[in-house]
Subunit: 210 residues, 2 copies
Amino acid sequence: MKLYDFALAPNPRRVRMFLAEKGVTIPVVEVNTRQKEQFAPEFAKLNPFCTVPVLELDDGTCIGDSVAICRYIEVLHPEPPLMGRDAREQAIIEMWDRRAELEGVNAAGELVRNAAPMFEGRGIAGVPDGFPQIPALVDRGKKRMARFFDFWNRQLADNAFVAGPDFSIADITSFIAIEFAKRAEVTIPAQCKHVARWYESVSQRPSASA
Amino acid sequence: MKLYDFALAPNPRRVRMFLAEKGVTIPVVEVNTRQKEQFAPEFAKLNPFCTVPVLELDDGTCIGDSVAICRYIEVLHPEPPLMGRDAREQAIIEMWDRRAELEGVNAAGELVRNAAPMFEGRGIAGVPDGFPQIPALVDRGKKRMARFFDFWNRQLADNAFVAGPDFSIADITSFIAIEFAKRAEVTIPAQCKHVARWYESVSQRPSASA
């Protein structure tokens, strides 16, 4: 197996944290998206959508999606479980992971991609240009992040982790959403004390520096 | 179990198609989102994000996300498999299902939500108001749908179904993306013959009318 990765991008970090929590090591090929290496024809053969991460299996199959890569690793290495054991746990964790992506990562994404000069003409991931930035999405992204923090504060008031008592992929996704939003100088609001407590505990896990 | 559903919305339809393919029947409670019933306080107790569908389990646990509901059903009723059998199949199907959501459903969503008068002030799902429509997203949604059709045409040139030789949840998600975009009068482009062939075959499955 080979992992096409880029240290500075949020979705590759999601996979690296997942692998670190599992104690799994996979050889890495760096694809520098700041240099637009993901648009090179050789890379587009592996992933026509031109995004990282991509996991290349030994038979040549390419898994070009962060959560699908995590699923593959979860099935091969079930311990510690990060996507739930039984039907109910799996559903609760997937619900929170998808909410963390929709309410968190996507909100941070529209904020950062529509503000940062490096994404000019690339409002949509995986497209070299032709999707101009939309300034109204910067404001909308900020409002959505505020909503995200508010919801997560309520959830984390009653739960040690995002999807319940145990650390899961939903914590990884929530953590990278917050890390991503920092690039646009959006940080945890002072009143969201439960988010701050949880963020501190996740930051201290060895996987946070993966 | 109880399924909170709305006949006219895309994500509930995704779950209904999944259940029909599995041959599973669950009692339904209709939540009319055109009447804004999802914002009623009793419903917000089941799903604070105020979206349908929601699956309420017998112990009161509420699964408020379409794919998480499908996962729950898949684990309890593995036949016929719609999310893959082994690690590799599961990863390939999840990758295509997530691409279908990102490139298809989300593109159709930004197109429809930012154009239709019924979504005025509600550019973001699950929020009663305060997120004005952004006209630039209508054009962007159209361009993204064109990109979706182009990619899907290439994938379906070599594959009977979206994720390979077998029907899967990725076909359901792709199908509802196309059905959703129709509301903004965006349809399969004439040159996308492989998409048209596949769409015709999915339309004829009994689940398409679920």
